[in-house]
Amino acid sequence: MDIYLPIAGQSVNALLIIVLGFLVGVLSGMFGVGGGFLTTPLLIFYGIPPTVAVASSATQITGASVSGVMVHMRRGGVDMKMGGVMIVGGLAGSVVGAAMFRVLQSSGQIDVVIGFLYVLILGWIGSLMLKDSLISLGYIGSKPEVGPAPRHNRWVASLPGRWRFYTSGLYISPVAPLALGFLAGVLTVFLGIGGGFILVPAMIYLLGMPARVVIGTSLVMILAVSAATTMVHSLTTRAVDIVLAGLLLVGGVIGAQYGALLTLRIKPDLMRLALSVIILLVALRMALGLAWHPDEIYSIEYL
């Protein structure tokens, strides 16, 4: 079943896009990530223009994070003050990111930068996850822990001005979550990813937030920033394809629900192993395009 995308200006197989959205949704429901890091590259491989792929998958992330936010809000697993600070950073990040996006777009390097950042981030996260899951499945031995880690990161503790975050039980400088939000905002505009898989570890290891509020808070932040990113893209690049986003969403929101159910039934370490292999394969495919041979030598920009 083919359907015409009015902004991308081409027809795609609607079922394939819905299935793609569904699979990414399952992953996002299971691991609490937005799943944009898989949607965007897969859409680009399919032949959607990179700008449209990035902008439209930001829209999908909003939908995928809604149900997660609802669940965590009910359980009280959201630190609204921390989330608010990060959202402010994220909004600033998405505006600055959009300006950088424009500059790179006019210099013609945007597809190279998108590819390069993807290889870097996916390669890094994928190998970390692969190592973690292999350790917990017992295939490789882990290094013995060298004493308890300090509760506060040295860099974070040295930042000026401290605020009390009661829900997280923290007394830290707001600059750290602000900077973290900023980074996630830039990444959302650039790569069409929510940044959840960077935010979650950073909130645990850098800020020292308790695990019970980390997922909920990061989801609130992703929800707000991805919604803002959709607005930023519609106003600047005008590349949000509402039909493409709608197809991804229909599959994605249903997939997210099944994913949340699956977490109760399947051994999480095995799933994490599978996810890390998928991430590394996507990173490898992008790396080949950058270092070995690009899909196209020539590209056309309309003036």
Partner: protein, 255 residues
Amino acid sequence: MSARLSSILLAFSAVFLVATDKPVLVPDISARQVQIRYSFTGAQLLLFGAVVYPGGSAPSRPLDIAVVLRGPVQPILVREKQKIAGIWMNADSNRFRSAPSFYAVASSKPIDQLVDERTAAIYELGLHNLQLSPGGGALPEKERRFEAGLLDLRRRHGLYAEDPHGVEITDGVLYRAVITIPSQVPVGTYTAETFLIDRGKVIAAATRDIQINKSGFERFVALAARRHEGLYGLTAVLLSLGLGWAAAAAFRRRF
């Protein structure tokens, strides 16, 4: 329909009024308008027509026909990737001020057997005779390299096509050619040109316009994204919030 009829009548009356010794082309197209809807996956256009000879009978020597369908001209920038420090990045670019967004030529014989290079260049017959107006005073070899890259890219996307045996001529009078347009074509006014060729010379030519437009919902979305960016973005956000909420609500009830 009446417009088509009157144009045919006009063409016929022109034959009798002018009464020259040259044949006249009466071309037509299977569709004057192509509407891009949600199910649009490309289209096939039939370009057909008749040759009206003075005196009414076809000459013993067969004539040849070439048809060209071209889309609106766009100024474009072609970028070229080169390997720099181990990474393929966009290193060089060249501007073309008048690249047709779509170009397909079909002829009854290969173009180089029909006309000489000069005639082909004048009528822009064949991909290598397109007047792309490269800008920026680049070296000729660089321009040729970029032109080859552009032609190859668009040919593989189905936007540029050459069919050296695509025109079928029946009894020296009726001709027909099928041209396929892919789903990626831009909207605008397309022109279908037909050339009647005799011994290396174009002896008659005729032009028809075709409108390719987005229609219905597709047109609405494309216009909204350009003219009402804020509302469009807001709609996209609300759509994703609504769908996410609906799925969560539906599943909570079921499980």
